[in-house]
Symmetry: C2
Amino acid sequence: MTELNRIAERYIAAWNETDAAKRKALLDATFTGDISYADPVMQGDGHDGLGALIEGAQQKFAGFRFSLKGTPDGFADYIRFSWALGPAGAESVVEGTDVGVVKDGRLKMVRGFLDKVPG
Amino acid sequence: MTELNRIAERYIAAWNETDAAKRKALLDATFTGDISYADPVMQGDGHDGLGALIEGAQQKFAGFRFSLKGTPDGFADYIRFSWALGPAGAESVVEGTDVGVVKDGRLKMVRGFLDKVPG
C-alpha cells in the first residue's frame, strides 16, 4: 500500500470510527494538530473540531459507512481521493472527492467537494 | 453564467490563447499577481511563471484545445472544475480537474490533478 493509500484509508477509518477513544487515536494518527477541514456543508479545525464534525455526520447518517472510491493520487504534498457513503453493501447515498495537504504523513488541510448528493 | 463558470471559462481561454498580448490580458483578468500554480508535471508562480507554463503546453500539444468539462462547483473561496485537452472536435487526449482558491474574482492558487493521461 502506498503512502497516499495509507493516508486515505486512515482518513476513512476515522470518519467511520464510532468509539470515541479509538477515534481520538485515529485523529492523532491521521491529522496534524492544526488540521483545517472544510466542505460545502461544514468546517472545523483541530482534532476536537474535526472530531465534532465526524460525530455529527455519524448521527446524521446513522448506520452508514464511508468507503474509499478508486485510487488516491497526488503530487508534491497534495493528495486527492474519492469516497462513498451509504448503508453497508448497498448503493452509496453521498459521494465526494477530498483534496488534502500532507505534512509528515498526516493531513494538515482538507477541502472536500461533493460528487453525488441525495436528490 | 455564474461567477464560478466565468472564472473557469476565463481560465480555459487563457490556456488556449496563443497571442501573447491577448494571453497577458487574460492572465491579468483571471489570476492574481501572486498566483501559485502546480500540477503533477509543472509548477510556476505569478503571471510570467504561469504564462511560461501555458506557452510550454501549447508547444507540446500544438493544435490541441482545452475545453471545460462538466460544471464548475465550489464553496467558500474554493472552486473545482474539470477540463479536457485534445484536437478540436476529436476525443480528448488528456483530462484533469483543478482546484483553486478565488480572491476578488481571480484565481490566487491552483492545484491541478490528472484524470486521464495518454497510455
